[in-house]
């Protein structure tokens, strides 16, 4: 298997968008944020149990900020051994029980503190990913994103930057999507070499996570996993935001348009195109009948 002293970090980024989860709880009471977090804990524990040198980090991605659920600031590691109720009495590996308790405590804090202000209903996923990238600097790491709400259009630039940074650092980004397909995450998985999966049954989230996302890169080559989906890399035109396959590109500012216009609206360059010369029809002289 893997070398014993190789540290492998798994960062799980959970989308805890309260609006979506609140609506989800009303739609489908059997699968709520609690269930989701349970499944996340299961996969986190499994990862830590696979090898002693495996490490875990969990980030909650909210509308207003991103929060590290584990490891959190209040965690002192081995120092805090005895005095809190970490020994749950069932003989569990201490690290796992400590982690679970911390995650639960932190998520309670995060969700209770959120005083909803402003109009943002979108998850700040790009920021969470950036934090995840920063935490995985010195060791081999990968990121697992569990996405609930839709893509945010305004985060596109940041998202793409994060994706390319991850690619440069050889950090995999996997995505497990609960509800609607996300083009950005599809691109992220394609570019960094991770797996993208939209699960058909939300209640079976735990099973999907364990089957597909628990093995790391070397182990995945030995397994039969869902094949990569076809990614739509089409660009969107700047005028209508339609996805186009063939378009016009301004040679000065590289903005993409779906229709030709003589002036580029972004950089105001005028383009001259020579139209083909019209051949004037010759008037045929009628022959005089002799």
């Amino acid at each position: 298997m893997c070398a014993d002293d190789e540290v492998s970090l798994l960062v799980i980024v959970v989308d805890v968008n309260p609006i979506w989860w609140g609506q989800q709880a009303q739609r489908e009471p059997e699968f709520t944020l609690s269930k989701c977090l349970d499944a996340v804990m299961v996969v986190g524990n499994s990862h830590m149990a696979m090898a002693r040198t495996n490490k875990l980090a969990v980030i909650a991605s909210h509308c207003q900020d991103s929060h590290f659920l584990f490891p959190s600031k209040s965690w002192r590691g081995a120092d805090n051994g005895g005095d809190d109720a970490s020994s749950s009495g069932d003989g569990k590996y201490e690290l796992l029980s400590v982690a679970n308790n911390l995650i639960a405590e932190e998520i309670r804090n995060v969700m209770s503190k959120s005083e909803y202000k402003g109009n943002s209903t979108e998850t700040l996923l790009a920021g969470s990913l950036a934090k995840a990238l920063c935490s995985g600097q010195e060791m081999k790491s990968r990121i697992l994103v569990i996405k609930a709400a839709e893509d945010c259009a305004r985060q596109y630039m940041n998202f793409m930057n994060v994706i390319f940074a991850a690619q440069k650092q050889n950090i995999l980004i996997d995505a497990c999507v609960l509800d609607s397909d996300s083009g950005l995450l599809q691109q992220a998985c394609d570019i960094t070499g991770g797996l993208y999966l939209k699960i058909p049954q939300k209640v079976a989230l735990g099973q999907y996570l364990l089957w597909v996302f628990l093995p790391d890169l070397e182990q995945r080559s030995q397994l039969v996993l869902p094949p990569p989906a076809h990614v739509d890399y089409r660009a969107a035109c700047f005028c209508h935001r339609n996805l186009i396959e063939i378009g016009y590109v301004c040679s000065v500012c590289l903005s993409i348009f779906c229709n030709f216009s003589p002036i580029c609206t972004t950089c105001e360059t005028a383009f001259k195109i020579q139209l083909p010369q019209m051949v004037k029809p010759k008037k045929k002289k009628l022959k005089q009948p002799t």
Partner: protein
């Protein structure tokens, strides 16, 4: 009959062709024969059409001359004049020998060029096969745009050939072998002889003067090697030798080279000399003087060797830059060619030397062409990705508040319940979806197209694609339609071409499809 403007170079009477008496005329551009008594030429060939000429062997009774054309056919002329047959034939042969090469080059040059282009570029060759051989395009059209180089006789293309230079060690390579008792055997090849002649024009001149009138070649070379001219230490130059003159001329040449000096102002050879730092570092003792008088024997022999060495190197370099021109004036050659004369443009008096050093092109400010600054009015467009601006779902603010409250309520009492994460039915349904053949595993069955299509079909398709591109190029080159010629070409000729091409493609397609089924 021959046109009046044609210049007749040679007329030979009594030449029979196909058992008919007649006269042979050699003109400026063609050779012609007319039967006796008639005005017309029955046989006329352009020199350009003639591939080669053949003559009958000298001993035979019939004195004949045969012309073989490029097309393969041949014409034979029989010189029937009893007294002058041989002379006539020789005259005709000589003239033809001079004329044929001139015309041969013109005709073949184009063909050669075409062949060369086809051989060098396999894509072009394939295109040629696809389009011209299968008669979609005529050969002239194919070559119309590509042969620009030949008619302009672009000399740049023919500069690829470099002349072979002279090895500096050519004299040393003639390693003498001992010939048994007290003799030395020198092996001279034609290459070495040529090198010697090119490097030392003096020796060549001596050769031309003496061989074969006075000495045989063998004797000449024997004397050459025996002479002290060849040997390293040329101290005794007083011996009677045909090469003693060469030695004197070499001295003269060397002196003039030294006088000419180095023209590069950045190289100051005169400041170089043997300097001593201290005992043990460098040459101790008095500075060596250039006069011959106070030299020891050893010093002067060293001096002679070094002088010869320098002279030899200078001559080798000079010969390389002379490029095989026949030496006309010997003195001017040895004096005017030395390695540094290329900088003659930069020859400046020493006063300007410092200023020259200050101006190095690389370090000066670049004169970049002026550019227009980029002026983006709406730069936020770039930040937006291929995601719709408006979200699909619209949530009212009341909904939002409700949801937030709900979730806060739910999570306030969150306790992980890790034993109830999955039920077995749910888990098994997930596993079956993930197993091969399941819902999520369908996409893997598709293969890339280039694995399904055999490579030969791919290759053929590529050739067809390239040929179609070429046809399109002909099509687009007709625009803008300015002349009626182009218009006619478009509507008539090209239509036909494209139709032929399309038919070809159709045939290929059906053939391939039938093969599959």
């Amino acid at each position: 009959m021959a046109s009046l403007s044609e210049e007749v170079l040679l007329v030979v009477k009594k030449v029979r062709q196909r058992k008919q008496d007649g006269t042979l005329y050699l003109m400026a551009e063609r050779i012609a024969w007319g039967p006796e008594g008639k005005d017309r030429f029955t046989v006329s060939h352009l020199y350009a059409d003639i591939r080669c000429q053949k003559i009958s062997p000298d001993g035979k009774a019939k004195v004949q001359l045969q012309l073989v054309l490029h097309s393969g056919e041949s014409t034979t002329f029989h010189f029937a004049n009893e007294s002058t047959a041989l002379k006539d034939r020789e005259a005709a042969k000589e003239l033809l020998q001079q004329l044929l090469p001139k015309f041969k080059k013109k005709a073949n040059k184009e063909l050669e060029e075409k062949n060369r282009m086809l051989q060098e570029d396999p894509v072009l060759f394939q295109l040629y096969k696809d389009l011209v051989v299968s008669q979609v395009i005529s050969a002239e059209e194919f070559w119309a745009n590509r042969l620009g180089g030949v008619t302009n006789t672009d000399p740049a293309q023919y500069k690829y050939k470099q002349e072979v230079g002279i090895s500096g060690a050519f004299l040393a390579d003639i390693r003498p072998q001992t010939d048994g008792c007290n003799g030395l055997r020198y092996n001279l090849t034609a290459d070495i002889i040529e090198s010697i002649f090119r490097t030392y024009p003096a020796v060549k001149q001596k050769y031309n003067e003496n061989v074969p009138h006075n000495l045989t070649e063998k004797e000449f070379w024997t004397r050459f090697f025996q002479s002290h001219y060849f040997h390293r230490d040329r101290i005794n130059t007083g011996t009677q030798d045909i090469f003693s003159e060469c030695a004197k001329q070499d001295e003269k040449g060397l002196k003039s080279m030294v006088v000419q000096g180095v023209k590069n102002p950045l190289v100051d050879l005169l400041s170089l000399e043997d300097k001593t730092l201290d005992e043990g570092y460098g040459v101790c003792g008095a500075q060596p003087s250039t006069s011959n008088s106070n030299r020891t024997v050893k010093e002067s022999s060293n001096y002679a060797i070094i002088k010869r060495f320098n002279h030899h190197s200078a001559m080798v370099l000079a010969a390389g830059s002379r490029k095989g021109e026949t030496p006309t004036d010997q003195a001017s050659e040895t004096s005017s060619t030395d390695g540094n004369s290329r900088d003659s443009d930069f020859f400046q008096p020493p006063v300007k030397k410092v200023k020259l050093q200050e101006e190095y092109e690389d370090l000066q400010q670049e004169n970049r062409p002026k550019t227009v600054p980029l002026n983006l009015k709406k730069s936020d467009r770039y930040a937006h990705g291929p995601v719709p601006l408006q979200s699909q779902q619209y949530t009212t603010s009341q909904d939002i508040i409700n949801s937030v409250n709900y979730i806060q309520h739910e999570m306030a009492n969150y306790k992980p319940n890790l034993t109830q994460v999955l039920s077995s039915t749910v888990a098994t349904s997930a596993i079956s979806a993930l197993s091969p053949g399941g819902v999520l595993m369908q996409a893997g069955a598709q293969q890339a197209i280039n694995q399904m299509v055999p490579s030969e079909v791919q290759g053929e398709l590529k050739h067809l694609y390239v040929a179609a591109g070429e046809l399109l190029r002909h099509f687009w080159s007709c625009f803008p339609v300015n002349t009626p010629f182009l218009e006619e070409k478009l509507t008539g000729h090209l239509e036909e071409m494209l139709q032929t091409a399309y038919n070809k493609f159709h045939i290929w397609q059906t053939r391939r499809m039938m093969r599959k089924t």
